[in-house]
């Protein structure tokens, strides 16, 4: 912010200079004149400059436009000089290509708005079709499809003739088809071929191209386009079902992650723990604290911040869980109403404590690079953060299950929860097991917080948005059964996501709630009810 202040003063200074500077210095040639337009700090001038430079054929055109795209182009409004900061940090004069030692003090980055960004992208597409970097060629070829400028056709044709990379060839062919589709004087057979190419692409962008085709097409082409549209649409409808299923799984995994700790404290121990959401929140704040330390001291470790935060969040939330159990809950076993009120009060205390400590506003938890972005499978987009959370949830679930099944602590936990007096007479220290079980449930809520910090706000209210959903999952799935929680979470997630497009997000949630209430009427113990005498006790 301090640097920001300086920036602001500098910019103020700049605008004063700009006002006082009415006379343009004389320029050498048209290219130099065009470049100097960047220094005017007017969007319309910048747009003119991009157009003129892109068509100038000057070898500096490509570096200038791509620098503009990346925000590396700066201009000095005083001297009307424009500079490129190259990726390696060297600075050159944009008009002449001559090296410059350093940027003038009052040079500021050339500003862009959305319209300009599109113009710049199209210009970059035209300039980098012949680039030696295959990735650049591919993105240039893809931008042809979007802009489908008629003037690009010769460039695209010559690029297509030279291109060897398969996916770039494909993109170029599709771009070429898009141009021909919109070219008024293209022959019918060319247009029919173009429609076929676009149809084969079959995604939403293809659909957009075909539907935006104007009415004045020859009847044959119009017919082909219409049939292509309907075939793409039915294909997309199929994919949207797959997409809903994936979104459902993803939502289910978030629900499961939030609920799995509760499945231990409420499901296995029978403690109605209203402060469960706050354990999730503490985990998220632990992630924030870890990232803060990493940002200030070890910036290189940022991509590993979540891995570092996981054990810490488990310890923090688990430790507080043990503390809560020892100081409050152990006096309240068998008194569900008191437990409910006490833990609820506790949740408010924890919230306000965090609010006092970290402030009421949201805290920024960054996404490591491996959790940002998305990839396409067929016609659906899968975002990495959701995918990782899905995998992470399953891993946590498997580890927890294994722990309960194969470790001594797990055995003791099951023994105590199934028949406390019998377990005690077998020599198990039940109160120690109680504390550890509660700590385990809280700790798992803490690591859920690490994952949820990636998709939700990190604020003192984070936990509240999950507590009711978590209880619903556990009750629906069947109290005391981890598998029930798993099936319950995924069922609710998928049902929610299939309802949402039909009923809307608000009605969808209400519908789910009503369905659960009806279901509980029919099966009060949830999907997977525990059987046996222990349950009745």
């Amino acid at each position: 912010m301090f640097a920001n202040c300086i920036d602001r003063f500098r910019a103020l200074f700049l605008s004063i200079l700009l006002l006082s500077c009415f006379v343009l210095p004389a320029m050498a040639g048209p290219f130099e004149d065009s470049v100097a337009k960047f220094a005017n700090d007017e969007f319309s001038d910048t747009e003119d400059a991009v157009g003129e430079i892109a068509s100038s054929g000057n070898p500096l055109a490509s570096p200038i436009i791509s620098a503009l795209q990346d925000g590396r182009l700066s201009a000095d409004p005083d001297s009307k000089k424009v500079f490129i900061t190259q990726p390696d940090g060297k600075i050159i004069d944009a008009a002449t290509g001559a090296a410059v030692d350093k940027l003038p003090d009052n040079a500021a980055a050339v500003r862009l708005n959305n319209r300009l960004r599109r113009t710049v992208d199209a210009a970059v597409g035209g300039l980098t079709l012949m680039s030696s970097d295959p990735a650049k060629r591919l993105s240039a070829a893809q931008s042809v499809l979007k802009s489908h400028e008629e003037s690009m056709l010769p460039t695209v044709d010559s690029a297509l003739a030279k291109e060897t990379n398969k996916s770039t060839r494909q993109a170029l062919a599709e771009g070429r088809a898009a141009i021909i589709l919109f070219k008024s004087d293209a022959s019918d057979s060319d247009k029919l071929d173009a429609v076929a190419v676009i149809k084969a692409r079959g995604d939403q962008e293809a659909l957009a191209l075909l539907t935006s085709l104007d009415a004045g097409q020859p009847p044959l082409v119009a017919k082909a386009a219409a049939s292509a549209i309907s075939s793409i649409q039915s294909n997309l409808a199929l994919w949207s079902t797959v997409q809903n299923a994936w979104y459902g799984l993803s939502l289910g995994s978030v629900l499961l992650l939030a609920a799995i700790g509760l499945a231990i404290t409420f499901g296995v121990m029978g403690v109605i723990n209203m402060a469960h959401g706050e354990m999730v929140m503490l985990g998220a704040y632990t992630t924030f604290a870890v990232q803060e330390v990493i940002r200030t001291s070890y910036p290189g470790l940022f991509d590993y911040s979540l891995l570092i935060a996981l054990p810490l969040a488990f310890l923090v939330a688990g430790g507080i869980g043990v503390l809560i159990e020892r100081s409050i809950i152990r006096f309240l076993y068998g008194r569900p109403l008191e437990t409910l009120l006490a833990t609820w009060g506790l949740s408010l205390v924890l919230q306000q404590a965090v609010r006092t400590l970290f402030g009421p506003t949201n805290r920024e938890v960054g996404n490591p690079s491996w959790m940002s972005g998305a990839f396409e499978v067929g016609q659906i987009t899968i975002t990495y953060n959701r995918l990782w959370i899905f995998c992470f949830t399953l891993a946590v679930f498997a580890i927890l299950l294994a722990m309960l099944r194969y470790t001594a602590l797990g055995l003791e936990m099951r023994a105590v929860t199934q028949n406390r007096r019998m377990a005690a007479s077998m020599g198990i220290a039940t109160s120690r097991v109680d504390a550890l079980t509660f700590g385990l449930g809280s700790g798992i809520a803490g690591i859920a917080g690490v994952a949820l910090s990636q998709i939700d706000n990190v604020s003192p209210n984070l936990g509240q948005s999950y507590i009711i959903d978590s209880f619903m999952v556990v009750v629906f799935g069947g109290v005391g059964n981890l598998w029930g929680t798993l099936v319950g979470a995924f069922t609710l997630g998928i049902a929610n996501k299939f309802l949402e497009p039909v009923a809307g997000a608000v009605l969808g949630k209400i519908a789910i709630l009503v369905l659960i209430i009806l279901f509980i009427q029919k099966r009060p113990r949830g999907l997977f009810a525990l059987k046996g005498r222990a349950v009745e006790a």
Binding site: M1, F2, N4, C5, R8, F9, A11, F43, L112, N113, N114, R115, R117, R118, Q204, L207, A208, T211, S212, L213, S240, Q243, N244, Y247, S250, L251, V254, W344, G345, L348, Q352, P360, T361, N362, R363, E364, S372, A374, T381, T383, Y384, I455, D456, N457, V458, S459, P460, N461, Q464, S465, I468, D469, K497, E500, P501, A505, V506, K509, I510, L513
Partner: protein, 442 residues
């Protein structure tokens, strides 16, 4: 999902609401208003009615600090009419009924001359009867859905015609948008604003099938389906934009999902009415570069008044990173208007001040003038800003002059004939067709 039900019952909220009981417990815990035991007679008391705990604390506690800061500055200048100002802070704890209780306490027990407060529309509606009954003044600093003009309230935030409509105009003219997604959180502000926008878009010749309206619950965090829907809606070959009235908290996951699914501002821009510097402070803004927000103030606007305000604010809060935002400017304007009115009539008597306020002018932070109108709204400039990578906004467009706030929207058939005029007609909802005042109970 249960919380959702409570929200739906208490729909009339401005931001994410809590189960009211939670607030009540907090209210009991935190009702320690730090009003001094004995107030000297040579001070003027100013009430501050902003939530300091509960869900709304995220937005409202900043405004509490703003009023305290303004009072501090005013006292340095010698106070008002030679008397020092004294702040009385209460915490209504994001609990709507508690707002009314605390307002009553401020006016009857602490005898404040004026109250600065409220954020959500429901909190404003809940204190209205108290202000009417006890005849005091409320300055309300947040953009809201309009359709209201009360004698005891001065609205220094934007009415829909000072934010939503200019933003849509900008997208239509500059970005050539033909297809519209109106996405909002499910409560009164987005619903009214979207009703106004829908009527406005249709009057501009936009077809029904080119408008998609979508509501989501408070604190919605799974945006996958909706973002995919927006993507699908946007691929009909016409330029598409999203007009977002999604409430503050739900915005972070919404923008994250947009970024992750690769929707760039240059393809489908999102213009938001509730995303400011404060909200962006909680997210990595790089994927959002180019998305838009419409406000009457941005921290990045360079005027001497704004530079001075930010510098003094950061010095006052001892935090060189503290951001400023639009409701803060509205609070600043409201405070200065009140001071001017009091100095004009040489009295803090609410009746005199209310009558004096219309017509009073004060400089805003962006180089213009805020003038109180007879309908108790003010004139405001409208700015469209693009999100920059550092979480600040770059102003790309602004209205040529200040826009006068309409208490009653001209786009809605029910309210197009109504005007608020507390100067000539002494009426908040005067029907110009029938020349009748509808009176209270609207």
């Amino acid at each position: 999902m249960l919380t959702q039900l409570t929200h739906d019952i208490a729909t009339v909220t401005r931001r994410r609401a809590l189960a009211a009981t939670a607030g009540l417990v907090m209210g009991l815990a935190a009702s320690s208003s730090f009003s001094p035991a004995q107030a000297a007679d040579d001070t003027i008391k100013v009430g501050i009615l902003h939530s300091l705990s509960g869900t709304m604390a995220i937005s409202e506690s900043t405004l509490k600090d703003t009023v305290l800061f303004m009072i501090d500055e005013q006292n340095k200048k010698g106070g008002v009419m030679g008397k020092k100002l004294e702040a009385v802070v209460v915490d209504p704890a994001s609990n709507w009924p508690l707002f009314a209780e605390k307002a009553r306490e401020l006016i009857t027990k602490d005898k404040v001359a004026v109250v600065f407060g409220c954020w959500t529309s429901v909190s404003r509606k809940s204190v209205l009867p108290v202000f009417k009954e006890l005849n005091n003044i409320l300055f309300y600093p947040v953009q809201y859905e309009g359709e209201e003009s009360e004698r005891n309230v001065f609205y220094t935030g934007a009415a829909p015609n000072q934010q939503a409509i200019p933003a849509v105009d900008y997208l239509m003219k500059d970005e050539k948008v033909k297809r519209w997604v109106l996405a909002g959180t499910d409560y009164v502000y987005p619903r009214t604003t979207n009703k106004i926008l829908e009527a406005y878009l249709k009057s501009k010749g936009v077809a029904q099938e080119d408008i998609m309206i979508n509501y989501t619950p408070f604190g919605h965090s799974d945006w996958q389906t909706i973002v995919a829907d927006i993507k699908k809606f946007g691929s009909a070959g016409k330029k598409t934009a999203v007009v977002s009235t999604i409430n503050g908290d739900a915005n972070v996951p919404f923008y994250k999902e947009l970024g992750n699914q690769g929707i760039k501002a240059k393809d489908i821009p999102v213009v938001a009415f509730s995303v400011g510097e404060e909200e962006l402070a909680g997210i990595d803004a790089k994927p959002l570069v180019g998305h838009l927000a419409a406000w009457n103030y941005f921290e990045s606007i360079k005027t001497p008044a704004n530079e001075k305000f930010i510098k003094e604010w950061q010095a006052y809060t001892k935090n060189p990173k503290r951001t400023t935002n639009d409701p803060m400017e509205a609070t600043y304007i409201g405070f200065n208007l009140w001071v001017k009115a009091v100095e004009k009539v040489k009295s803090t008597d609410p009746d005199k001040v209310i009558d004096a306020l219309p017509g009073i002018e004060t400089a805003n932070l962006t180089g213009g003038t805020a003038k109180v109108l007879p309908n108790h709204h003010i004139t405001k400039p409208v700015y469209i800003g693009e999100i920059k990578a550092n979480g600040q906004f770059d102003v790309v467009w602004k209205t040529p002059a200040e826009v006068a706030g309409d208490a009653w929207s001209k786009e809605l058939p029910d309210s197009k004939d109504l005007v608020g005029d507390w100067v000539g007609k002494k009426c908040g909802n005067y029907n110009t067709k029938t020349s009748k005042c509808l009176g209270s109970g609207s």
